[in-house]
Symmetry: C2
Subunit: 202 residues, 2 copies
């Protein structure tokens, strides 16, 4: 009997939840390209962007990727998504981390070159999803002008989705974005002395 | 001259940063399988897990995936990663959302069946990375016992990485995890009336 009562309570709770979920779905009728920003200090900003790339490819969509920070990281996803040249246009900025080059002028030139490729993607109606990985870092160091980015985003093809990652997203970008998530660190293996490993960070 | 001074300040700041980064890398010497938990109410928990799957595949690793919640969502990643049967062992729990079935007993049976597959993966030394997508939801509803999950995680092959996603991760799981991120909503397109779209949520 107790079990029956529990089953009944569960059913009623789930009916209320379903009504709420269905109402939310019924209200959400707009279909257009959105801007997704993943920021914060926690893990998952870039990997979430690459998960969305995988999801898009599962639907047969076409994807453009520009990685603004090349370094010892980010090698696995590049190797993987380069397997699909007809579906993914993949560009990695050809310089190291800013603290590796230590050369502001060289960094600016490299970031501007990457931004030109990104701007081309943002005007290409054939691309359904564009991932601008670590663009926020280039904006933070003022290697790329946030006003240029806002202008390119607001004039892009109306059905194109854009995902922008990196800590410290500028407020102007957050303001025009549709979905913004802050990844917060609860704990991180690196702080406990565990090195970056393949499949996790690399 | 001002530009020279700025370039010099940049170089010095980056040298200090590089020293910090290098010291952190030098301290992080442990190499072993880690447990990553993506929780919170924000976007990116599952997609980050699937991004790590892509990263792992880029390194030629073998991956197991169990999706504990099947619904109208999560179709793109399934279609995509099923392209690689030799590299990814992919299982989706065969029932809908809990608020769709509204049947606690049926949900428990389905979750337990999915958990048995997950437990098999967690004892398989051939799998380098195991993604247990939305396991936290099954734990929250007590469809799967957290003690069983902790026992399986702590006795898994030492080099196996595990990624567990879903809101409301139980504290016992957070306690034994190595990297825990809380995805926080800053804003979400759905709340502004934009429907779930392919490549983004689907």
């Amino acid at each position: 009997m107790e079990s029956d009562a529990r089953a009944q309570r569960h059913r009623e709770r789930m009916q209320r939840k379903k009504a709420l979920v269905d109402a939310g779905i019924a209200r959400a009728t707009i279909e257009r390209g959105i801007i997704v920003v993943n920021t914060g200090n926690g893990k998952g900003k870039s990997s979430s962007g690459f998960g969305m790339v995988a999801r898009a490819l599962g639907h047969g969509l076409h994807v453009g990727v520009v990685q603004f920070i090349k370094g010892s990281f980010s090698t696995g996803e590049e190797a993987f998504f380069r397997r699909f040249p007809g579906e993914v246009s993949y560009h990695v900025m050809g310089e190291g981390f800013t603290w590796e080059t230590q050369d502001r002028e060289r960094d600016i030139r490299a970031a501007q070159k990457a931004w030109q490729l990104a701007a081309d993607m943002l005007s290409d109606p054939e691309l359904d999803l564009v991932l601008l990985d670590e663009l926020n870092i280039a904006l933070k160091y003022q290697y790329v002008d946030v006003a240029d980015v806002i202008a390119a985003l607001t004039s892009r093809p109306p059905n194109q989705h854009v995902v922008i990652t990196g800590r410290a997203a500028p407020q102007a970008l957050v303001d025009i974005a549709d979905t913004v998530t802050e990844m917060q660190v609860v704990k991180h293996a690196f702080a406990a002395g565990i090195k970056a490993q393949k499949g996790i960070e690399l």
